[in-house]
């Protein structure tokens, strides 16, 4: 009897342990994978329409609501784009404070992904609850690390989810030097926890996998890219944020509300693997040392090992936060003036899960005429589907349950922000 003529469909309707909602549909016919469709419901399309006709000061607050996990990324890309349109550059200590806030988001988001979402995959555990039951101290370390990121977001951002202290040109309220210094002790502890996290993760067994996707990230010579920089790719592309949409094209595909992006027509990857490959030399000495210790090398092409890159980036973000706090002198004004003028502006920053691009066109009185948001997950989607296609092709001997599990793991490697972020309790109601 042969399986060759059978058709097999596998549907994982709700992906586990990825943010928000998503689904995966794989079709296999005659032993060949005929389609891999990752259904992602992404909100930027709604927000693009929602922003049209609104005031130019509103996008930082409104787009921060796109995602509960990376609101700062949305705020920073939005501010940068609108300031660019208005011909304003925010530098000095105001820029340093923005970077500090962004470090808080990296720490929080990476700690969440490493401990609550990704690590259980390598430990043969179903989820973080099982990890807490088996090794409470380890999970507590993860939560403590995450809390250090929260503390930065609460102080600089005003609160940890949907920070309210960010505005065009800077902030509403500046932290006092002593307030920031108050974070130092917690961050030093967090640095030890982050280093321990990297060492712990380096003991995991990683399945073999090598990706050949083109890699795209920011580059900000002299430092690891977070909030500023120009675009560089592994094939040698080098362009400015204003040229983003000359290279990145978004296509509508029927199976997903997310647009699929291509880079000069091909699939590509943004996020930790890309950032690290293009910028490892700009890590802080401590982060570089940790990367060497845990055997990361100059680049990492195994997506399962992205957990190690996230751990190293967490070390870096804490180091960088400590540096900014040590050098902080409150600026004279909390925000520079940003007056509207007709024009188009571009902003691109490194969200924890990859590049986030915003473009706004505003008219003379500051009304938004057009908004474009390209989120990281839309850019990674073709690469994730390619990984899944390869994985499924060599895993057809597995039963559906195990195959679904392997697929979920492959998706979690990229920490996709399937960020509709609508949360529903699956409720069972017994009626008698």
């Amino acid at each position: 009897m042969s399986h060759r003529s059978t058709s097999r469909r596998l549907r994982v309707s709700a992906l586990t342990r990825v943010e928000g909602e998503g689904g995966l549909h794989i079709a296999v016919h005659d032993g060949k994978v005929t389609s891999v469709e990752l259904n992602i419901y992404e909100p930027p399309r709604f927000f693009e329409a929602f922003l049209r006709g609104r005031g130019y000061t509103e996008p930082p607050d409104i787009t921060a609501r796109v995602c509960g996990i990376c609101p700062v990324a949305y705020q920073m890309s939005a501010c940068q784009a609108i300031e660019d349109a208005c011909g304003v550059h925010v530098g000095g200590q105001l820029a340093a404070l923005r970077r500090l806030l962004y470090c808080g988001e990296w720490i929080e988001s990476h700690a969440l992904h490493i401990y609550l979402l990704h690590a259980p995959d390598f430990l043969g555990l179903p989820d973080a609850i099982a990890l807490a039951e088996r090794d409470r101290a380890t999970l507590e370390r993860g939560l403590s690390l995450k809390k250090a990121g929260n503390a930065i977001m609460e102080l600089v951002g005003g609160r940890s989810i949907h920070p309210i202290n960010v505005r065009l040109g800077g902030f509403y309220r500046l932290p006092a030097k002593a307030e920031l210094a108050g974070l130092t002790e917690q961050l030093r502890r967090a640095l030890d926890e982050a280093i321990a996290t990297a060492r712990w993760a380096s003991t995991f067994e990683f399945p073999d996998a090598t990706i050949d996707h083109e890699l795209l990230s920011l580059r900000d010579p002299g430092r690891y890219p977070i909030d500023t920089g120009t675009l560089v790719s592994s094939s040698g592309l080098d362009f400015s944020p204003a040229e983003y949409l000359d290279h990145v094209t978004e296509l509508q595909v029927p199976h997903s509300t997310a647009l699929h992006a291509t880079l000069d027509g091909g699939r590509y990857l943004v996020g930790p693997l890309a950032r690290y490959a293009m910028n490892a030399k700009w890590l802080s000495p401590t982060a570089r040392e940790v990367a060497t210790d845990i055997g990361l090398g100059g680049r990492c092409r195994n997506p399962h090992r992205s957990i190690l890159v996230r751990a190293v980036e967490t070390v870096y973000a804490i180091d960088e936060a400590l540096r900014i706090i040590a050098e902080y002198e409150p600026p004279e004004i909390a925000a520079v003036d940003v007056s509207p003028r007709a024009g188009t502006g571009h902003g691109v920053t490194e969200a924890p899960r990859g590049l986030l691009y915003h473009r706004y066109r505003i008219d003379t009185d500051g009304t938004i005429e057009d908004a474009v948001i390209v989120p990281p997950t839309a850019q990674n989607q073709p690469a994730i589907e390619d990984d899944l296609r390869r994985l499924v092709s060599i895993s057809l001997h597995l039963d559906d349950h195990e195959l679904a599990h392997r697929c979920e793991r492959a998706i979690r490697n990229y920490d996709p922000c399937i960020s509709c972020s609508a949360h529903f309790l699956d409720l069972t109601v017994d009626r008698t």
Binding site: T16, F50, D127, E133, H401, I418, C420
Partner: protein, 153 residues
């Protein structure tokens, strides 16, 4: 006695914002010893919000296959569906937060969950009429929970 009110939801997903609306109305009353937190439902934030509190009231939207929009369910933590199997869970949510808090000994003294059956959850702002109509009753219910457990509980 310290109380925590946790509103879960997304104000840009229509009825999913109901938990946030209730939390905001409680916040406006500026009650002593009551902390109000709005969140997207990420478990570690919920755990941080309620750890150490005498009573925590969580308000969330519930999507059912055959909903009766605006209908409210009161659920005590021990009545929640047990350890949620990874194959069926919709990402992380309240049950996961409760289980995780239990494993870490960070449940509040008493944890009550109010869920509201929703009508629409597309992208957009504002609640549907039946869900909006449920808000005043929910606010009263949350205030009663904060004042003390019902006699027959």
């Amino acid at each position: 006695m310290t109380g925590v009110v946790v509103g879960i939801g997304n104000e840009y997903r229509e009825d999913d914002g109901v938990g946030l609306v209730v939390a905001e109305q409680i916040q406006r009353r500026d009650l002593p010893d009551v902390r109000v937190v709005s969140t997207d439902g990420e478990p570690s934030r919920m755990i941080e919000a309620w750890a150490g509190a005498d009573v925590a009231v969580v308000i969330d939207a519930a999507r059912l296959a055959d909903p009766n929009p605006g209908r409210v369910h009161r659920i005590l933590v021990d009545d929640l569906p047990g350890h949620v199997s990874p194959a069926s869970s919709h990402g992380l949510g309240v049950p996961e937060a409760v289980e995780l808090a239990r494993a870490l000994d960070r449940l509040p003294g008493r944890l009550v969950l109010y869920t509201v059956e929703v009508q629409k959850t597309g992208f957009g702002v504002g609640l549907s009429d039946p869900v909006a109509a449920a808000v005043p009753g929910l606010v009263d219910a949350v205030l009663r929970e904060l004042a003390g457990p019902p006699c027959l509980e």
